[in-house]
């Protein structure tokens, strides 16, 4: 499965979900669907899943999708336990497994090809945990995954797709967070709870 194809399969069912993209998934997300409700996480190692947890707890009325990387998740593996314990019903955590630290020279992750992320998530206490390595199957399952009560975890075996602009200055800019917050506030004003 190409990473950008996997992301596109998710985006087809995005609705009004907020999405956090981590490193290259974030760059692909920006290329495929630039939107105010995209948040990008890079530089603070492995923090995408924890950003997602905070957002999910803070706005339970909205789905929050984390597009994580395997290297990033390994830097914050305990977040799976924290997420399972906090149990946000609106959090969907997708991990794109390319088996390497692509943003830092494509060195292999520890236990490349041997670690079972879906099993790790299940063992951490996340009830709905899946693994996919074939695009058509994953694309078919996305609507069912997003209809489940979170937290939900899915690991996707991927290879890089089309190259995305490596514009970290754009995704790391404080203005991206401000845009994201303004978009949430604007929707809340338009549709008060």
């Amino acid at each position: 499965m190409r990473r950008d194809d996997g992301i596109a399969a998710i985006l087809r069912h995005r609705g009004n979900a907020a999405i956090i993209g981590v490193y290259n998934t974030g760059l692909d997300l920006r290329r495929l669907s630039p939107a105010p409700l995209n948040l990008y996480s890079s530089g603070a190692m492995g923090q995408g899943s924890s950003w997602g947890l905070g957002l999910a707890l803070g706005m339970p009325e909205r789905k929050v999708l984390v597009l994580d990387g395997d290297g990033s998740l390994l830097m914050n593996l305990g977040s799976l336990v924290t997420i399972a314990n906090a149990a946000p019903r609106n959090l969907y955590h997708f991990v794109f497994e390319n088996g390497c630290y692509e943003a830092n020279g494509s060195h292999p992750i520890p236990a490349q090809g041997r670690i079972d992320f879906a099993a790790v998530a299940r063992g951490a206490g996340i009830h709905y945990s899946f693994a996919f390595d074939e695009l058509a199957h994953f694309a078919d399952e996305v609507p069912r995954i997003l209809a489940l009560e979170g937290p939900v975890f899915a690991a996707l075996k991927v290879v890089p797709g089309d190259p995305s602009p490596q514009d970290y200055a754009f995704v790391n800019a404080v203005e991206r967070v401000r845009e994201f917050k303004r978009a949430i506030e604007a929707e809340r004003r338009a549709k008060p709870a």
Partner: protein
């Protein structure tokens, strides 16, 4: 309450006054009995138990972006371990992460920079280097400063840190 201790109920009241709804925490012996256990047993806040302190930086930032106020209750060792997350998320992305930091082994009444503990001595210089407003709570006067510090952090979208300079009692 022993005279040498801080009053946990007063700190909890100050956090409520500041509009804090969520506490993200890793246990710290300085604040365990007087803050974390009462918070865990009570209904004033939603407690998010963390595996590691740096998670809490992002959890608090996510909550802030979603319009909720949170505080991160940790030990100074966890603060030191979380510096890159604090640098990247709280400082560079300008998020109002409110750090409540227990100074393990700081001598009561002694300034943190004068402590015999190396780990305690370096906390304030690091906060200064990060440009994070901070103060050390040694008694009721500093507890009363907490709501204002949190309000400023959210108003100005920047982090703040309150350091507990002595044990917090229930």
């Amino acid at each position: 309450m022993a005279e040498a201790s801080l009053a946990g109920p007063d700190i909890i009241a100050a956090l409520k006054k500041a509009g804090i709804e969520f506490i993200a925490a890793v246990p710290d012996i300085v604040t365990s009995q007087g803050l974390l256990w009462p918070i865990a047993r009570g209904r004033e806040f939603r407690l998010v138990r963390l595996c590691k302190e740096d998670e809490g930086v992002s959890v608090c930032a996510g909550l802030a972006v979603a319009g909720k106020r949170a505080a991160l209750l940790i030990q100074h060792t966890g603060f030191l371990d979380s510096l890159n997350a604090i640098r990247g998320i709280a400082c560079e992305l300008g998020q109002p992460v409110c750090l409540l930091v227990g100074l393990l082994a700081k001598e009561p009444g002694v300034a943190p920079t004068q402590s015999s503990s190396f780990g305690v001595r370096i906390v304030e210089p690091i906060l200064d280097a990060l440009g994070i407003e901070h103060f050390c709570i040694e008694g009721p006067r500093e507890i009363a400063m907490l709501p204002g510090a949190i309000d400023r952090a959210y108003a100005q979208s920047r982090p703040t840190a309150a350091l507990f300079g002595r044990t917090v009692a229930p």
